[in-house]
């Protein structure tokens, strides 16, 4: 099977959704003939016509606000916020209407719509092109907030998002748009509100989502070389949250680190750390740590590598998980005998 990039997988998902359901419409800024600045909507106007995929005026509140009205009339609009930080003008519509209309109307009016948001850094973008805005959306009851980390999930989760009776904020990790993977059209992966274990390991759980899943997997590879078994959980659905899968993993390993690009203060990781602590306190060998960006406005591109959490920063966090309190070394749980490793070596 041909390898597909995440951007192509998203394109296929939109293509299949448009073909299968005449109520689906796709619109936003430059999503028409250009195919979107990341080419996620490439070819859709040509294939389905301007009636189904079209450019709108350049106004995010208007885009989301009109989508509310379209959804009230029975359409399933899929709208694009061109970049994370360009979505902020639409925030009032998202928070006060998209998220609340079902509640306000006692379930009489639902808004099946998808707001696609390319988010996160790592692409060398200048100011306003690299924000991680997930916490704003995840903090809002009434929205589903999801983010894929693989092309297969990108396809499946976007299909599911379009079919959902609830409004979905679909966060696309833009620096993974060019990541390749196998995608079979029509194939569904796990439901979008379910977390999945991407790698098994017995010593520590890395909890990641979207762009940091790949970083977590790289970290696990590096840690394995040091004899540390890292389990990687990909959250996929940020809201609602899959407590069961995450808690199962942490109960098995006894240690957890949450990894995201966003600033740590008041960030999504704080919620994850709190939930894990509430559910797994007696299983934990160390406090749940958070690794993320610094508490700074997103830096200019020539400095972003210092901001984004990489393998080393995550390994350092793993090294701080109070291994000295254990009588066995990390790596010993799998049955490997041996002397305890000096703590310093764990993060090396």
């Amino acid at each position: 099977m041909a390898e597909t990039t995440m951007a192509q997988a998203l394109n296929l998902a939109l293509r299949d959704a448009l073909a299968e359901d005449p109520s689906v419409v796709v619109y936003g800024e430059d999503v028409g003939p250009l195919g979107g600045v990341f080419r996620v909507t490439d070819g859709l106007t040509a294939e389905f016509g301007e009636d189904r995929c079209f450019d709108s005026p350049l106004a995010e509140a208007g885009i989301v606000g009109t989508a509310v009205g379209m959804a009230m009339y029975g359409l399933r609009p899929v709208v694009e916020m061109q970049f994370d930080a360009f979505g902020y003008p639409a925030f009032e519509q998202v928070v006060s209407h998209v998220a609340k209309t079902r509640n306000r109307t006692r379930g009489r009016v639902s808004l099946p719509m998808v707001i696609r948001v390319p988010y996160g850094g790592g692409i060398g973008g200048v100011e306003h092109h690299s924000d991680s805005s997930e916490a704003y959306y995840a903090h809002t009851p009434g929205l589903r907030v999801v983010t894929p980390s693989t092309p297969a999930d990108a396809y499946s989760m976007l299909r599911e998002a379009v079919e959902s009776p609830d409004p979905v904020v679909f966060l696309e990790p833009k620096r993974r748009y060019w990541t390749k993977g196998e995608v079979e059209r029509g194939t569904r992966t796990e439901p979008m509100d379910r977390a999945v274990v991407r790698r098994r390991g017995s010593d520590v759980t890395l909890i990641a989502y979207g762009p940091t899943v790949a970083t977590a997997l790289e970290t696990a590879e590096a840690a394995a070389a040091e004899g540390v078994g890292v389990e990687v959980v990909d959250l996929r659905g940020l809201s609602p949250f899959d407590d069961a899968t995450v808690a199962d993993s942490v109960r098995g390993t006894g240690r957890a680190v949450v990894v995201h690009e966003a600033p740590v203060f008041g960030g999504y990781g704080a919620e994850v750390a709190a939930r894990v602590t509430e559910r797994c306190f007696h299983y934990l060998e160390a406090p749940v740590l958070r690794v993320g960006g610094f508490d700074i406005p997103y830096p200019p591109p020539r400095l972003e590598e210092h901001h984004l959490p990489g393998v080393d920063r995550i390994l350092d966090a793993i090294a701080r998980l109070q291994w000295e309190s254990r009588w066995v070394s990390p790596g010993a749980r799998a049955g490997a005998a041996g002397e305890p490793l000096p703590v310093a070596e764990v993060g090396a």
């Binding site: 709108s56 606000g65 379209m70 079902r102 609830d166 609602p240």
Partner: protein, 370 residues
């Protein structure tokens, strides 16, 4: 391939008149308008009936607020010609996008008055089925209902329907970004929408001249390539005629429009406002002389179309509505805490199911201590 051009490709819409369109003057005498014709007597009687009943509803709701039976009530006393004229100009399959001040419009539309007051009583955020009445929930954030109307109207037109949407907004709301975006989207998409701006002169305490330097708020339409109409908002016949025509234009594909209805908020912003801090009673009294109900009553009486019995009938209808409202609003049924979790997402989440159980437990314990 798209094409652009170095010259404008359409003519400018005509400027709205500085003098508002008027069909009936303050003393109830007919005024000729070159474009708009007065509705016939049957319609005029429906307008009067709607205003009499609507005003009685408004007075009753204000009383309920003073008695503490409503959390708050934003009155539309003085704006009945806009509320009733706008709604009666609509077709049954058109959609209304009201604000929190448009209770009388909703009652005129046929929504159960108790349902209209659900929001303001504080039982829930909206009390009626939008699809049944084709009325969106009352919108509290300013102008955010306008893009919804554009989206719905555009979707309907795309599906081959000729329905139109009527958005209600105030003078203050025209300063909001969402108003601008909605006007622009409507014009670009040629969506069948009419924006009825009730310029009641005051956005809480801020007069309209501090909102806008546009000659009239209807002039704003011109920059979007839309038609703008400036109408006497205390002349129900004129509001009805102008909105009817604008809706007909919109549904026929001749484009959306802004209708500015110049009126006055006779009451405070809500029952908790203090208008003596920012406006003179003399101004209120000047507007009292332009009362929309008195004006239409005078016309119909002068033309021999309204006798005491007919007027008494309208009044009686209003009294019955008010009595029914008093009775049903006296009902002390407490809202159900379980419902807090019922309509967040389509299906309950594990977390909400847990939280609902926790609240049930709290409620049970509280009851035990009571």
């Amino acid at each position: 391939m798209e094409r652009t051009d170095d010259r404008p490709d359409q003519a400018s819409p005509p400027l709205p008149s500085l003098e508002p369109i008027r069909l009936v003057d303050q003393r109830g005498r007919r005024v000729d308008d070159p474009v708009h014709h007065s509705p016939d007597h049957a319609v005029l009687l429906r307008l009067l009936r709607g205003m009499v009943v609507g005003r009685r509803f408004d007075r009753q709701a204000g009383a309920l607020a003073r008695q503490g039976r409503l959390a708050v009530y934003p009155s539309s006393f003085g704006q009945e010609a806009c509320q009733v004229g706008g709604v009666l100009a609509m077709r049954a399959d058109d959609w209304l996008f009201p604000t929190y001040r448009d209770s009388v419009a909703l009652v005129t539309r046929g929504v159960d008055p108790v349902g209209v007051l659900t929001l303001l009583r504080g039982d829930w955020h909206s009390g009626y089925d939008p699809n049944r009445y084709r009325c969106a929930p009352q919108c509290t954030p300013l102008a955010t209902n306008a893009p919804h109307a554009v989206g719905l109207a555009h979707a309907a037109r795309r599906a081959g329907s000729d329905l139109a949407a009527l958005v209600m907004m105030g003078d203050g709301a025209t300063s909001e970004g969402d108003a601008h975006e909605a006007y622009n989207f409507a014009a670009v998409w040629n969506a069948p929408v009419v924006f009825l701006v009730q310029n009641n002169q005051w956005a809480i305490s801020v007069p309209v001249r501090k909102q806008s330097r546009a000659p009239t708020l209807a002039h704003k339409a011109i920059g979007y390539g839309m038609r703008g109409h400036h109408v006497d908002g205390n002349d129900a016949a004129a509001v009805y005629a102008v909105v009817s025509r604008a809706l007909a234009d919109a549904r026929a594909g001749r484009g959306p429009a802004i209708v500015e209805a110049r009126t006055y908020r006779m009451d405070p912003h809500t029952n908790s406002d203090a208008p003596q801090r920012y406006r003179d009673d003399a101004e209120v009294e000047r507007w009292r002389a332009r009362d929309p109900v008195d004006r239409l009553t005078a016309l119909l009486r002068a033309e021999g179309r309204l006798d005491d019995a007919a007027l008494a009938g309208f009044t009686q209808e209003g009294e019955e509505l008010a009595a029914d409202l008093r009775e049903r609003m006296a009902d002390e049924d407490a809202p159900d805490p379980d419902e807090l979790f019922a309509h967040v997402l389509a299906a309950p989440t594990a977390q909400l199911t847990e939280q609902r159980a926790a609240l049930r437990d709290e409620v049970r314990k509280e009851a035990g201590h009571g």
